[in-house]
Amino acid sequence: MMKVIFRVPVWAIGGLLILAAGTAAQDPPGPCYHCQYSQNCTYLLCNPVSPSGGTSSCNGGCYTECEPRGGSCQTDNLPEVTPDGSSVPAPALLAAMQRRGWHAAVVADYEVEFSGHAAAQVRRRCDRRVVLRLYDKAKVASVRESTRHIVL
């Protein structure tokens, strides 16, 4: 029986590995995807953020996080900001964060709108408060009082 042996140089294997790693890292951003039926979408945002804040046309891809439906929520050990709507207007919330150099905070009763080429993350905690996490160069266009629950 004749044996056929292919000899591959070590440098070629290394090159292939490097090429494969590089290809994986340079995957172009794909379209926004939605979570599977069995999952809850906890976070979906364009990167960069679209002018409308929507995700229907994410030019540069998007961030998506999914979690099992009815499953986990996350509790973060983050500084909490729970502004008094009457004495601390929305811009003061941002100012307070910036003064403290915070890039993340737990924000209750406010909705935050991002603008510019910002990367940001919003996640809902187990206590249903919203975690606001700002990355480099993140800008906040506006902060509005939440209207998910109104008591009149």
Partner: protein
């Protein structure tokens, strides 16, 4: 009717975006909409303040109940309501069938769904549809109707030249009635998408600006050349002018109409932002005049609603997101007032399902929001100071 119920529902946060698919002339799925919050966790005591429901029987959930069971349930509910109100309000009630003045009672609105509307097709009016998850929407003076069913928004172009000033569910299931202020006709869009004229309004000097269907009858708001505002009722025999604002109140500013018990609500958009509860015979049942908002602002009143027996009005500052929410009880006495920093207005209320439709400029775009409402004893929100 129920008193002191405890409700627990599952919580979920879901965000799915939709892209408008295509636009055809009639009945084309335009876009899927974002339903952010299917259900929210609720565990709160609540009080039923609205027993008398003037809506047509077709909108009531208890329609299928057997007669005897309904009577028994009504008896239990009535007793429970009286007990609940005595406990919660210290006996400050004038009856269990009307929303009356009660200190410490608040309107509690909890969002149960929100739908992002494509910006090119933003309706300004909405009414609940036949099912709990459908609604009819339109933009004033536009030629399109929008029907939302489950997760899709259908566009119904009724005519190239139409100028819709009011729309409502038709008498036949699936049909839609609308008032074209341009051709001065009331028409019905049938299930097969044919349009049939129901009535032609007489050619007068009055320009009709708003229309609403209340208890099966169409009411119109119109303005004469001099700016005199009147309300008309559409009868089989023609058009009956049932109420006119005083000559001193003539204005080119918008006037809104909404259904109300026994008639309609007419609200004026500009100062003094007064609201009139007018019977179908033209009698003013209640006139509400809010105190002007404090502080600087360029205020405009949005449509007023009747929620159960109470009245809900929103004043909007045109220069900011400030909104002043005002609540009156059924006697016209001011109950509660709150200023919020978010652009929102209310469009329709359905006492049968205890739901309210609102329009909101949200973080994700313009939204139609559905709230579930209850009457609660006191505010449940907690406030803390910045650390």
């Amino acid at each position: 009717m129920a008193v002191f119920k405890t409700r627990v529902a599952s919580d979920s946060l879901c965000a799915r975006a939709g892209v408008p698919a295509s636009q055809e002339r009639i009945s084309v799925a335009l876009a899927t909409m974002v339903e952010r919050h299917d259900q929210r966790e609720r565990a709160d005591r609540w009080i039923d303040m609205g027993a008398a429901d003037s809506r047509p029987a077709s909108r009531r959930r208890d329609r299928a109940l057997p007669h005897l069971a309904r009577r028994a349930a009504a008896g239990v509910s009535l007793a429970a309501a009286v007990f609940g109100l005595l406990v919660s309000c210290g006996g400050a009630t004038n009856g269990a069938t009307t929303h009356t003045s009660a200190a410490g009672i608040h309107l509690d609105l909890r969002e149960i769904a929100s739908y992002v509307i494509p910006t090119d097709h933003y309706p300004t009016n909405a009414v609940f549809g036949e099912s709990t998850r459908s609604m009819l929407l339109w933009r004033l003076n536009d030629n399109r109707l929008y029907m939302r069913d489950s997760d899709t928004l259908r566009v119904l172009d009724v005519s190239d030249t139409a100028s819709i000033i009011g729309a409502a569910r038709g008498d036949v299931s699936g049909s839609v009635e609308f008032v074209d202020g341009d051709s001065r006709t009331i028409a019905v869009l049938e299930l097969d998408r044919t349009i049939r004229t129901l009535a032609t309004l007489p050619r007068t000097a009055t320009t009709f600006t708003y229309a609403v269907k209340a208890d099966g009858v169409w009411f119109l708001a119109g303005r004469d050349i001099g700016g005199y505002v009147s309300v008309f009722r559409v009868d089989r025999g023609g058009l009956a002018r049932i109420y006119s604002l005083a000559a001193s109140q003539r204005s080119e500013a918008p006037v809104y109409l909404r259904p109300a018990r026994g008639g309609i609500l007419m609200a004026r958009a500009v100062d003094p932002y007064d609201v009139y509860h007018i019977s179908d015979a033209g009698v003013v049942i209640r006139q509400l005049v809010p105190a002007p908002p404090a502080g600087v602002g360029d205020w405009l009143a949005l449509p007023a609603l009747q929620v159960d027996g109470a009245y809900l009005q929103v004043l909007a500052d045109r220069q900011s997101d400030r909104r002043e929410l005002i609540l009156w009880d059924s006697t016209g006495k001011a109950m509660n007032r709150r200023r919020i920093d978010a652009p929102i207005g209310f469009l329709d209320a359905d006492p049968a399902t205890r739901q309210v439709i609102a329009s909101r400029d949200g973080v994700g775009g313009r939204e139609i929001v559905v709230y579930h409402y209850n009457w609660v004893e006191a505010a449940t929100s907690s406030k803390e100071e910045l650390p």
